[in-house]
Subunit: 257 residues, 2 copies
């Protein structure tokens, strides 16, 4: 069974300038793997309309799902939503459900309905045909249009949106992994044997990752795919490879540094 594929667009100058350490890629990568929609590409792009539109139109035809983070707030640099409308060639207009919800929210705040100002109204303005992605943290929703899922950039808000969205997506078998590691050996020693094992398990992704710890350096081998039994079998073979090289295999990933 084929897994659907995903692409993530991280939209925001703050990641490209180094101001912000991105945490969304890793969260979404894990979350999508768990529902069997493996992440196949990420692009980090600036808050530039032509770039957002061109990139979105490039990737939305090549992947089953596209997720975006960032650029849906109320300020001048939040332009994702209108760019998505332009990419789809649909009007960017008041979303009645989002609008009513935000209007009710601000009406009950100390500022009253005046607090639902034009900047905040932009957060209730969406491409025609968008369906809302709710979240438990903020009043402003994300949205889905076609195969594009538009989420906030602030990690805890994005995570809440992803929790709402993920159960609604039809995934494939979850991506699972098994690992083994050994200290006191190097990638250069196991490379040949490892390549042979990869050839015997073409459906798996067998990754080799050197690590450096106070307790010594070594190599972790991770088998990933949607067939847990095959992952197990491949890791048994890697374990035997370590033994044949007189190093002591340890199950799983090495402990964090």
């Amino acid at each position: 069974m084929q897994n659907p594929t995903a692409c993530l667009l991280v939209i925001g100058n703050e990641v490209l300038s180094g101001r912000t350490q991105d945490l969304n890629i890793n969260f979404i990568a894990k979350g999508l793997g768990a529902i069997g929609i493996p992440l196949r590409e990420v692009r980090v792009i600036p808050d530039v309309p032509e770039t957002i539109i061109t990139t979105l139109n490039d990737v939305r035809v090549r992947f089953d799902h596209v997720f975006t983070t960032g650029g849906i707030g109320p300020t001048h640099d939040d332009i994702t939503s209108e760019c998505v409308a332009m990419a789809f060639g649909v009007p960017w207009e008041k979303h009645s459900q989002a609008w009513a919800r935000m209007e009710a929210h601000y009406a009950s705040t100390p500022g009253g309905l005046a607090a639902f100002n034009p900047a905040r109204q932009r957060m209730a303005t969406m491409p025609r045909g968008a369906t809302l992605i709710d979240n438990a943290i903020s009043i402003a929703p994300g949205f889905t249009i076609g195969n594009v899922h538009v989420m906030a950039g602030v990690p805890r808000i994005m995570q809440s949106m992803f929790a709402t969205l993920a159960p609604t997506l039809a995934g494939g078998p979850p991506i699972v992994s098994r690992a083994v590691h050994a200290t006191g050996t190097g990638e250069g020693l196991i490379a040949s044997g490892l390549a042979d094992i990869q050839q015997r398990y073409p459906a798996l992704d067998l990754g080799s990752y050197p690590y450096y710890r106070a307790g010594g350096q070594g190599v972790a081998i991770v088998a990933k795919g949607n067939d847990a039994a095959a992952c197990e079998a491949a890791i048994v073979e890697v374990t035997a490879l370590f033994v044949s090289l007189d190093v002591v295999p340890m199950q799983g990933e090495p402990p964090a540094a």
Copy 2:
């Protein structure tokens, strides 16, 4: 004066699967800003030859510099180097300088010259015309060909390669930033005034970033560009905007969470 532009390709299934939290994007983003070669796009792509070749050929004509991380080790999943050769249409061949250095290194190890096995020899095999990027940590070098700079994926090795490479690149004026933040206000309240300030400083990138801390939530405004005086002036205007809204501006970014 125009700044040269950069694109980064993060090559590796481990970032896309969520196995590894990427740290290279942020390091390279900051490092390139400091030498005036702002990072304009990042792509995270898998260890798939067609994807690496197509992506590299797409971006190397669109940016002044392309940096890659990952995929230059000795194992079967390390395919960046030969893919770069294919992208440039040049032979992938023994690099005499890298080869001699690695041969000498392994000859003096307990394993002797036999330890310079075919897997490790791949790390001394490069696109024709490559010049080496040395590093202080490992014996295997990265390389530059044309405007493409190929570096390791392991952060401390990549960082050492970047330290060698950066001084050799002709950058523009450094990208600098100034910031001000205020607790107890929201993006929706300052958005209109902020958009006006951005319009008065079109050469700057004025970013608005909400933050959430135990001490309260607020907004940080960051002005970035290669004109420090303009950044200062814009932040003075943002400071006045905060004051006009009866919130207390604090210079710089908010303290880490």
